[in-house]
Amino acid sequence: MTTTTLEDRERRKAWGFVAPALLWTLAFFVVPFVYMAALSLWSRQGRDIVHVWNLDNYLRFFSESALLRGLTNSLEITITVTILSVLLAYPLAWIIAERVPKRLQRMALILAILPFWTSYVVRSYSWLLVLSKGGVINQALMGIGLIAEPLEIASNRTATVIGFVHFFVMLLTLTIYSNLIQLSPNYRRAAADLGANAFQTFWHVILPLTLPGIMTGAFLTFVLCIGDYITPQILGGNNELVLPQIIMLQIGRRADFPMAAALSIILMLTVTAAYVLCARWLRIERA
């Protein structure tokens, strides 16, 4: 009897701790998500929203190339950004963790993430000025005689990717660095004892052990990048639209909330698919 009472009390206590988080998730994720899913099954006809459930919005997405192209543009840009960011962030994180003296590492990290301190919008507009015909890059390259005509690096996909990579390298540097400093130096010593050179140690020991950090950062980069509206809007020059821009067009120009909801669900499913792929891959590596 006493045991049961204790168990009940413990159970109630546990629910007491969990309940606020559950209620929060229910109120601010589950309910809005269910509403959005239901909304995506209605449709806008003329200037009215018709409350009859159908799959018209989803069918339209797969039948109109301009809409489908939004998703492929998003995926192409996001995958490019994620790969480039990992390739740039890993060496940076490694240098900070392995080559910078311990007492200076905090300062090095602060310097690495310094651009985080400026507004995202301001940073994007700044990039536009830097990359423009008369911007710092073109002026410098022309000044030293490397190019005769300015490079076309503003208001296109290149500019969008540069803007994204600048931001996400900072994020990835943090996640990879935190992983690197947790590695015991004994791994390296053991590898050296077994005759591995520096590259073999990195390739067969360090890299696999830091994969969780890389994958966590890469997944965060993927999620934040594919859902971003501001950078492509400011730096892309509207020469191609990504999915969030198309969602904004449905809301801002057409007041077509059902279509916007359907596109948002598609975006969420894409992120979910990315998560499933990452999670499975990570599990295999850990096995």
Binding site: G46, A66, S132, G134, S155, Q233, G237, L249, R253, R254
Partner: protein, 358 residues
């Protein structure tokens, strides 16, 4: 020149911030409040402050861009949330049909002082009742850097889909005036635009995209032209270049021989306004010669006042930038935005989205 432009923008931002702060402090204890759904030109403290001070009222401004966004906000609002609304003149009937606009007494409005072409009874009235009044207008046409292009080329609309300035053109990202411009370039009237015109329009839109560097909103378009990223802005006009006239005298605009599209914005009182008398008073202030001059030279964008008496409150430089003396000719050679049915509107938006994805 880039520096002076940025400096001017920074100055404007700094002064606006100070002015907004002063405005907020000064009106914090106002006895009444007015909620206005407006375009960005109404958020200039130099325009709003005199009305607030004179009437001991705090005007709460919610800014939006594009009729779709405005209608979205209305659909999500409760009756009484808004007292006043600014809307594209060609879209007034869309809002009248939603049943949210209130009738304004025609004799309380200075319609007789307006440029006759801007009275726009077909747009602002329904069944003999006045629901809105046109407050500002201008042109979606061609803005350019006269030091980098041949101004004579800008007199022909076909330049916007030719290869002569390939990669040096920005397209203003608003499908209605842009498709209207294409229709004019094809030698047709914007008012006659129908489904049958869309294939030819789509073909020209594709050519325009191929010749352009970017498709951009107001800020990005203005920045691109001012920084030399592009030399021509299709869809621009005095609203892009006039406020930069002092810092960037190399920027100019023209109405080509085929004509241009005329934009006009109207202001209306909401049917469920909690303070309809004060709302009407606000409309009267905006339409007064002094209010009109302030609205015309608002920090967000400039445009022609509809009230001809506003000229008394504009100085020579301001009139020159607005091309005050050329208005008679411009009004004759420009046409209103197309007013599409819901179905045609969807086709036009699809055509525009397709163009951007090419």
């Amino acid at each position: 020149m880039t520096r002076s432009f940025e400096g001017a923008a920074a100055r404007r931002f700094f002064m606006s911030t100070i002015a907004l702060g002063a405005l907020a402090a000064g009106q914090a204890n106002a006895t009444e409040e007015l909620n206005a759904l407006v375009w960005c030109d109404h958020t200039d403290p130099a325009l709003i402050e005199p009305f607030e001070t004179a009437n001991d009222v705090k005007v709460n401004l919610k800014e939006y861009e594009g009729t779709g966004a405005g209608i979205s906000i209305l659909e999500q609002s409760q009756p009484g949330d808004w007292d006043v609304m600014v809307i594209d003149a060609v879209d007034v009937h869309r809002v009248i049909d939603m049943g949210v606009l209130g009738e304004m007494p025609a004799n309380a409005l200075p319609s007789a002082d307006l440029f006759p072409e801007l009275v726009m009874n077909d747009n602002n009235t329904k069944d003999g009742k006045t629901y809105a009044i046109t407050e500002k207008f201008g042109y979606n046409t061609i803005s350019y850097d006269k030091t980098k292009v041949d101004p004579k080329d800008m007199e022909d609309l076909s330049v916007i889909w030719s290869d002569k300035y390939k990669g040096r053109i920005a397209l203003y990202d608003y499908y209605l005036p842009m498709i209207g411009l294409v229709q004019l370039g094809l030698g047709k009237k914007t008012a006659d635009l129908s489904d049958a015109d869309m294939p030819a329009i789509e073909e020209k839109l594709a050519a325009m995209k191929a010749a352009s560097k970017q498709v951009s909103d107001v800020v990005s378009s203005q920045t691109a032209l001012a920084t030399g990223e592009v030399d021509i802005l299709v869809g621009g006009g005095e609203w892009i270049t006039a406020s930069l006239a002092k810092d960037k005298p190399n920027l100019d605009w023209t109405v080509p021989k085929q004509g241009a599209v005329r934009w006009a914005q109207s202001i209306a009182v909401m049917k469920d306004s909690k303070n309809p008398d004060l709302a009407l008073k606000f409309v009267q202030y905006i339409l007064s010669p002094e209010g009109q001059a302030r609205l015309a030279t608002s920090s967000c964008y400039w445009g022609m006042p509809t009230n001809q008496k506003a000229g008394e409150h504009l100085d020579g430089e301001q009139k020159k930038a607005l091309r005050w003396d050329d208005q008679a000719g411009y009004l004759k050679n420009t046409q209103l935005y197309p007013i599409p049915s819901a179905e045609l509107d969807k086709k036009m938006q699809d055509a525009w989205t397709n163009m951007m994805q090419q």
